[in-house]
């Protein structure tokens, strides 16, 4: 099977964005991020001064979430794309390599130290755990599955045990040389 794009899902803070950026460069594909689209939407709504991203996403209505996923799906369907998405099961019908990125919570908290400047590792862990349980709940409510289930994906990468270079090598090994 030939893959014409890559969809990355994963637990919060596992390093999806860094991997997506690198792969987009290597394959020279368009990059999309569902997280960024939500952040833009929050910014446009003008509420970004009132609430954080986590709080905002938690109260997004079900229909809005489904509509967003549909919009993302249309982009993935065109191919030549590398994207981050939360819920990838409905993308199985396209020739996309589905990858899940994981890492233990301590490692993820360490990765996010810069982004959440000033917060302690313990505080960041709590934020990440809350996001993961939010995402888990939305996944169950919207689609009826646990988005961390390895059976949904072609492969799962553990960014706590692999370097970015090794992650790229394994993905590129499957997709083939661009």
């Amino acid at each position: 099977m030939d893959f014409n794009g890559i969809a990355l899902a994963g637990v919060p803070g596992a390093g999806k964005s860094a991997l997506a950026k690198k792969l987009a460069q290597i394959f020279n594909w368009q990059i999309i991020s569902v997280g960024d689209l939500w952040r833009q939407r929050l910014h446009k709504s003008g509420n970004d001064k009132l609430m954080g991203f986590e709080e905002y996403w938690r109260q997004v209505p079900k229909d809005d979430n489904l509509a967003m996923d549909l919009q993302i799906e249309k982009i993935f369907a065109q191919g030549s794309v590398i994207g981050e998405c939360r819920f990838a099961k409905h993308l199985q019908k396209y020739p996309l390599l589905l990858v899940f990125v994981t890492a233990d919570i301590d490692t993820r908290a360490k990765y996010k130290m810069d982004k959440y400047g000033g917060k302690t590792a313990g505080e960041i862990k709590e934020i990440l755990k809350l996001r993961e349980s939010d995402e888990l709940e939305v996944g169950r409510k919207l689609y009826g599955y646990d988005y961390r289930d390895p059976e949904i994906y072609h492969l799962v990468l553990n960014s706590a045990m692999m370097s970015l270079g090794e992650e790229i090598a394994s993905v590129a090994g499957i997709v083939g040389k661009p």
């Binding site: 899940f100 059976e151 994906y153 492969l155 799962v156 553990n158 045990m161 090598a169 394994s170």
Partner: protein
């Protein structure tokens, strides 16, 4: 990191052996199979297959399983080996690539049926054998090391053999391990 060997764990019937063979040939490394060792012992103890392998394995005392696991660690510490080990949790300190093989139950059962692995059992029979084995293995993982051996956080990589061809699996690994 430079890997000097590869260890596979995975769900029963997820295709570990086939991939181990392929990689051993490719790298010119010997195969070390923990499952194979247990099966050999079983064959010696029960040449008449009086009890099934699953029953035999389920009743091996925890101490014996721990001792066996330690002897496995020694083999891997030398490197240049590709093999399978159900619980490679202690192997993480060695420069080994740790891989978990998964696949949905339907696919695993259909494959075992095609290979005639479980004799006269039909697809539903094979599914219950595989599920029972998985449950036994989960329980043993908790008994021995207090962990769920299916947790992706204990491996570098999880490969889904229901969605990847064996060539794609070998390519993913071959791009990381360069002996």
């Amino acid at each position: 990191m430079k890997f000097n060997g590869i260890v596979f764990s995975g769900l029963p019937g997820a295709g570990k052996s086939a991939l181990v063979q392929k990689l051993a040939t490719r790298f010119g490394w010997p195969v070390f199979s923990a499952g194979g060792q247990w099966r050999k012992k079983y064959g010696e103890l029960y040449p008449d297959h009086r009890i099934t392998f699953e029953e035999y394995w389920r009743n091996i005392p925890v101490d014996e399983k721990i001792k066996f696991n330690d002897s496995v660690d020694e083999v891997y510490s030398e490197g240049k080996v590709v093999g399978d080990s159900r619980y490679p949790v202690n192997l993480r300190k060695l420069p080994l690539l740790l891989i978990f093989m998964t696949a949905d139950l339907e696919t695993r059962a259909a494959r075992a049926l095609a290979l005639g692995k479980y004799g006269a059992a039909d697809i539903d029979g094979i599914k219950s054998i595989l599920s029972a084995r998985e449950n036994d293995e989960i329980k043993t993982g908790f008994d021995l090391f207090n962990y769920d051996y299916r947790d992706p956080n204990y491996y570098h990589l999880v490969l889904n053999s229901a969605k990847l061809s064996i060539d794609q699996e070998a390519k993913a690994i071959g791009s990381i391990v360069k002996p």
